[in-house]
Structure formats: structure tokens, C-alpha cells
């Protein structure tokens, strides 16, 4: 059921009065946020986190839509929470520091080199073992790798899909909130909602970003 949409719809909408001032302000601030040097993580850990984040959403590290790791770094620096955590998991800061340490530890156990030196296939394989709970290493004896993976993936996904340039990829223009929607039934489309590209376009674009 996947569909592709023409690029640029959200960016164009943000310049119109279809978007309320507060929504426009929030989204423009987010798009302008590029991140920078990490404030919470040390540089090596941040590098691992950045690669992991990109892999989790299949984002090209050389041409990022969203600097996901910076958003996580910023949150941990500000010490904010989403309101809960699993009782058998350490506090978020500790979870991230230990988890990233664990990724390198597993990498060395499996491949004899740190995570950043692995091939993309090896990195993906390692992440899969975290998700399955089969990853080896001392860290994962203390902290279940499955839960770490789940928590990390949830935060990464929420950050990535909060970005207007990524929402655009879904053909989503819900941020156009000033006038509301009148055509809300099945197969109904309001004028400013983008139409999906024809099926053959979908097939053509459906090549993975990388292997």
C-alpha cells in the first residue's frame, strides 16, 4: 500500500495561511535545528549513536534529513523524560551511555573491531541481535538489550517522524491546521492534500536507499 508523493508540499504549505502561526513557528524552528557538537555524549559515543540512529530509520548518513542523535543529546542534556520508564531499566542517561558502550563491546566480541569500523551489513546484523536479545557482552547481562533497542528505536522513530521533511514523504499535511478539513471520508481529499504519484513511479522509487 506504500505510496510516494511529490517533494516540496509541506515546505510550500508552511508559507501559506493554511498553517496557524504557532504551528508554523514550531515546525520552522525544528527544521532550522541542525545540531552541533554533543553536549551530553562524548564524541566517540555520539558518533556511534549517530550511525545507529541513521540505520534505524534507513537514513543516508552523508545526506541526513534529520540529525536524530542531536535531538537525543539535547534531551539528555536538559534531563527531560517522557513520563515513565521500564522498572528494570536504568535512568535514561545511564541507559544510553551503557547501551552505546554495549554496542561497541558486542562489536569487538563478534568482529574484533569497534562498531564504526564495521561494514553496513555487519552493523545491521549487530542491531538485529540487540532486538532479538541474543547480543553478547557484559552490558547486556545487566541491561536487557531488547528493551534498550525498543526504547532507542521508539525515541529515534518519534524524532524522525516529527520532522516536516519526513512527514512530507508520507503525503501527510495535517499541520495545515488553520482551516480544518471538510473532505474526511474514504477516498476523499481536500484540495491542499497531495495526491499520490502513479503506481509505476512508486515501483521505480522503491529501491532501498542502501543495502
Amino acid at each position: 500500500m506504500e505510496q510516494y508523493y511529490t517533494a516540496g508540499t509541506v515546505m510550500a504549505l508552511l508559507q501559506t495561511d493554511y498553517v496557524t502561526p504557532i504551528t508554523k513557528q514550531v515546525l520552522e524552528e525544528r527544521m532550522a535545528y541542525a545540531g552541533g557538537d554533543p553536549l551530553f555524549f562524548d564524541a566517540p559515543a555520539f558518533e556511534v549513536l549517530s550511525i545507529v540512529c541513521d540505520l534505524l530509520v534507513a537514513q543516508d548518513s552523508q545526506n541526513r534529513s534529520v540529525n536524530i542523535a542531536s535531538f537525543i543529546d539535547q534531551r539528555l542534556k536538559e534531563n527531560t523524560s517522557d513520563g515513565w520508564r521500564y522498572n528494570n531499566m536504568p535512568p535514561d542517561k545511564e541507559m544510553y551511555v551503557n547501551g552505546l558502550k554495549g554496542i561497541d563491546e558486542t562489536s569487538i566480541l563478534l568482529f574484533k573491531v569497534p562498531f564504526i569500523q564495521l561494514s553496513k551489513d555487519q552493523q545491521l546484523e549487530l542491531l538485529k541481535s540487540l532486538q532479538k536479545g541474543t547480543a553478547e557482552g557484559a552490558v547486556w547481562k545487566e541491561m536487557p538489550s531488547k528493551r534498550f533497542f525498543e526504547e532507542l528505536l521508539a525515541e529515534v522513530t518519534e524524532i524522525f517522524y516529527s520532522h516536516p521533511s519526513v512527514q512530507e514523504e508520507m503525503g501527510y499535511v495535517g499541520m495545515a491546521d488553520a482551516k480544518g478539513w471538510t473532505r474526511i471520508g474514504l477516498n476523499e481529499r481536500d484540495g491542499i492534500e497531495p495526491e499520490a504519484l502513479p503506481y509505476n513511479e512508486t515501483i521505480k522509487r522503491n529501491a532501498p536507499l542502501f543495502k
Binding site: 500500500m1 506504500e2 496557524t20 513557528q25 520508564r85 535512568p91 528505536l153 471520508g185
Partner: protein
């Protein structure tokens, strides 16, 4: 807004401004009482402050960390706990189905769970009043439950695409559906002493805050009514302690405002902070717990969701999310579990859906991107079912402190056999409905909805925290009114019942005073 001096002994301090606190605040103020409400969060101006953006709107969720334990740990925050004037009604989906009469007598009917010390007919006049005041949009006559004394004041909201799809699937299976009752306006509506609210624009962001005032959250309904009658609302005030007389009555509520400790002298306290913060505050102060029931029997409604992808365009972010309902499964036949559940169609916002794909589906990388490129073709059904009380599900104080310097609560929850069987039944039915409607790639999301229990009401102080009027058995001038007093969850979304209890508690308090 009227302001009271903290040295003046007001008639009542109300802690919390959600569905439990706001209606009774207005009622007490209308009766001429001096009332002050303490709210831990901000007083927002939705039009100026609420963006149509999920990440930004996480400011409406309770973000002081809770520790989630047990075999089925509950996800707090976005899912079920609000902060700010209006409480969790700021982000409720506006579902307002009524409980059925038999829901209050579960033990009598099934020999499990517990009977409430009150029944449907004690609350019925309040349901009538609330539906009229809030401007509920819904069908009249309503297809399920006992005959109503009053019609819904507004016709139902329009069916969005997920609702139409659920209707299609249910029709093929012979399951009766109806447009749902929702606390969002299908037409402009006037409330005396509050003013006009405009019709819903189908923006679909109920769960991230309504920016138009169409949704009947407390901040646009009972809070302005309370202020009109002279109540004072104090935002950014986090209640932490109680001062008490030698007889044990509360004489003042101590709270923190911008890091400074302040207090308000008072004759009575209405604690309406929800099923986590209410017992937490009582346990921290070691009070109102001679029954040992404070924190016990934490419950969460069975809330499994099933998502499907459709050939047709759905664009699930538009319209009231829960537009269609079926109550045919309230007492399903030939099942091995007690009670039952509602079926509700659901639309969804993109980040919420993406997050579910990640957590429940375990999708990531290319697969995740592919799933989300189908967003405009996705629709969901939600089951909303009864959860039985279980003393092994409870809240305690942990040794870990939060940023306020207060112990973080730890909540144990493990679904019982009844919940598991009910959830499996709902999963099967919802999957059939979606298959009949033409869905592919179904995904079930194991979810628990709402926080309920922990300060149960009952007829004896040996086994309950409050009586049927919401009054503490131990502290004569303490009342509790929120989802914590529910002895069992009921099968319906709790907001309407909490509000009805709130008005009833206020009326009983006032009648006893006069």
C-alpha cells in the same frame, strides 16, 4: 479572576483540574463557597499555544518519571496522564460513552471483581446534565443501554474514513455499529456563563490538544464556569504536603510554586490528581490509609488496537478519531471471561502511529519507512474493555527521587486471565472486521488504556479508602474524586463517569453542609 489570600481559610482546596477536579470546583463555587484549585501544570491558551504537532504537544503530558513494573508494564505519559489546567482532558480523545447499569454490579453478575457501592441510577441525572452542558455530539436514540431521559444536544460528528471502513466490515459480520458519542461539537454551542464554542473543524488532533475549543476539555468548560462563580485557579502549583489538626483534619495544603514552598489554609480538601498522583500524595504523607488500600488494585482498561492497510485512501489524521462505535461486545456470548468491551474505530496522528510500529511491530530501517509510506491508507479499530481489580497490581513509592525531590512512584501491572482472554477475543473479532473490510498487513498493538483504581470507594473503611460520596473514612475533611476511586474499571472510557462522580461528590458535600 478572584484571588484568595493564602492566610484566608478557604472552604475548599481542590488538587487537580481534570475531569475529577473541574466539575466539582464549578459546583462548589456556584454554591458560593470560597474555592482554590491547585494545578501542577500551566494554564494554556490553546489558540496561541497549541501547535498541530505531536512533539511540541508533549507538553500536555505528565512527564515526571514513573517506574513501570510487572509482567505487563504500563506505558505512562502520552497514553494516559495529562498536566496543565484541564488535566488529562487536554489530551483525551473525547469519547463519552455511558457505562451500562450491569457494569456496577460485576460481582453479582459474574462472581468476580467487585460491586460498586453506587449504581448507574445514582449517576444517571449527572450523565444527562453533563451531556447537555458539555455539548456532546451523538445519536439519539442511542442504540444500546437503558432508555435515556434526555437526547444528546447535538447530532453526531461526521464519519471519517476509518469509521466508514469499520462500518463496512461490521456490516458484513452482522455487528451493529453507530456513530459514537463524543465530547466535541458538531455545531456551535452556547453554555450559559461560559459562552460560545465553535464546531469541530475535523483537525483530528484531540489527543494532542484541541486548539479550537470544540473539544469539551475542562479548560474550556467547567474551569471558566468555576472562575465565573468566583473560584481561583492556581497553575504551576504542585501539592506536596498537608498540615493537620490534632484531630487529624487537614488545615492547610502545602505546595511548591516555582521551587518555593507555599501553603493555603482550608476547611476541606478535594484530591483529584488521578490514579497515580492521588495515591502517591497520600502515601508520601502517610494518611487516609487505615484500610491499607491506598495504591492497591491499580487497573488499566484492555485497549488492544488493530491496524490495517487499505487499497483506498484513508488519510487517518482527519476527523474525530473515534467516530464509530459498537457496543455489541459488552456481554459477548459463548466466552470464558467476565464482562466485555467496546469496539471503536480510530484515526491516528503520524508520530503516534510510527511509534507503535516501532514498539509493537518492531519495524525499523527500510521496513519502517515502507510501512509509513502507507500512512494515508491506514485505519485502526480499538477495543476498550473491563479490567478486573487485582491486589497484586499496585502502586508504591520507590527510593528514587524525581526533579521535585519526591519519590518516584512504581506501578506493578500484570494482566489477569480475564484481561488476556478478553483481549484475545477482541483481537480475533477486530481482525475479522478488518479482513471483511478489505484490509491487508494487519498489526495488533497490545495497549493498556487509562489509569484506574488505587483509592477505591466502598461501604466499609476496612476495605476501602473513601465512601460512596468520595469522603475519606480516615480524614473527615478529605474527599477524593478522580479515576482512583473506581472499584472496577467499567468497560467504557472513564472521563464521563469521573465527571459524574465529581458533580455527585460536590452535591453530597453541599447537602451535608446545609
Amino acid at each position: 479572576m478572584h484571588r484568595y489570600s493564602s492566610n484566608e481559610t478557604v472552604d475548599a482546596v481542590v488538587i487537580g483540574t481534570g475531569a475529577g477536579g473541574a466539575p466539582l470546583l464549578a459546583r462548589l463555587a456556584e454554591a458560593g463557597l470560597k474555592v482554590v484549585a491547585l494545578e501542577a501544570g500551566k494554564h494554556w491558551n490553546p489558540k496561541a499555544d497549541f501547535a498541530t504537532d505531536e512533539r511540541e504537544q508533549s507538553k500536555l503530558f505528565w512527564r515526571f518519571e514513573r517506574l513501570s513494573a510487572g509482567e505487563d508494564p504500563v506505558h505512562f505519559g502520552r497514553n494516559n496522564s495529562g498536566i496543565g489546567v484541564g488535566g488529562s482532558t487536554l489530551h483525551y480523545t473525547a469519547y463519552t460513552p455511558r457505562p451500562l447499569p450491569n457494569g456496577f454490579h460485576l460481582y453479582a453478575e459474574f462472581g468476580v471483581g467487585i460491586n460498586w457501592p453506587i449504581d448507574y441510577y445514582n449517576l444517571e441525572p449527572y450523565f444527562d446534565e453533563l451531556e447537555n452542558f458539555l455539548g456532546i455530539s451523538g445519536p439519539s436514540p442511542y442504540p444500546w443501554g437503558p432508555p435515556r431521559k434526555s437526547k444528546y444536544p447535538l447530532p453526531p460528528l461526521p464519519l471519517n474514513a476509518p469509521a466508514q471502513l469499520m462500518q463496512r466490515g461490521c456490516e458484513k459480520m452482522g455487528i451493529k455499529t453507530s456513530p459514537a458519542a463524543n465530547a466535541a461539537l458538531s455545531a456551535s454551542y452556547y453554555q450559559e456563563n461560559v459562552g460560545w464554542r465553535k464546531a469541530c473543524t475535523n483537525r483530528g488532533f484531540c489527543q494532542a490538544g484541541c486548539s479550537t475549543g470544540a473539544k469539551a476539555s475542562m479548560d474550556v468548560t467547567y474551569i471558566p464556569l468555576a472562575v465565573h462563580f468566583g473560584a481561583e485557579i492556581r497553575p504551576d502549583c504542585f501539592a506536596t504536603e498537608f498540615e493537620r489538626s490534632s484531630q487529624g483534619n487537614i488545615t492547610a495544603v502545602v505546595y511548591k510554586k516555582n521551587g518555593q514552598e507555599e501553603k493555603q489554609l482550608c476547611k476541606n480538601v478535594f484530591l483529584c490528581a488521578g490514579a497515580v498522583e492521588t495515591p502517591r500524595l497520600l502515601l508520601m504523607n502517610n494518611m487516609a490509609n487505615s484500610s491499607g488500600q491506598v495504591g492497591k488494585n491499580f487497573m488499566a482498561n484492555v485497549g488492544l488496537q488493530v491496524w490495517g492497510e487499505f487499497e483506498e485512501e484513508v488519510r487517518p489524521n482527519k476527523g474525530i478519531p473515534g467516530a464509530l462505535i459498537s457496543e455489541d461486545m459488552r456481554r459477548p456470548k459463548n466466552v470464558d471471561f467476565a464482562s466485555g468491551y467496546l469496539l471503536q474505530s480510530i484515526g491516528v496522528m503520524p508520530v503516534t502511529y510510527a511509534s507503535q510500529l516501532a514498539r509493537a511491530g518492531g519495524f525499523w530501517g527500510e521496513e519502517l519507512r515502507k510501512k509509513l509510506r502507507a500512512f494515508n491508507h491506514v485505519a485502526g479499530i480499538n477495543m476498550h474493555g473491563e479490567c478486573l481489580p487485582n491486589e497484586n497490581n499496585y502502586l508504591e513509592l520507590s527510593n528514587e527521587l524525581d526533579e521535585m525531590g519526591l519519590p518516584k512512584p512504581r506501578i506493578y501491572f500484570t494482566a489477569g486471565e480475564n484481561e488476556k482472554k478478553m483481549s484475545a477475543h477482541g483481537d480475533k473479532i477486530m481482525r475479522e472486521i478488518w479482513s471483511e473490510a478489505g484490509a491487508e498487513n494487519l498489526m495488533s498493538y497490545q495497549r493498556k488504556a487509562h489509569t484506574i483504581g488505587t483509592c477505591r470507594m466502598g461501604s466499609s473503611g476496612d476495605t476501602a479508602v473513601v465512601d460512596s460520596a468520595g469522603r475519606s473514612f480516615d480524614v473527615a475533611n478529605l474527599y477524593i474524586c478522580d479515576n482512583s476511586v473506581f472499584p472496577s474499571t467499567l468497560a467504557v472510557n472513564p472521563a464521563l463517569t469521573i465527571m459524574a462522580l465529581s458533580l455527585r461528590t460536590a452535591d453530597l458535600f453541599l447537602s451535608q453542609k446545609s
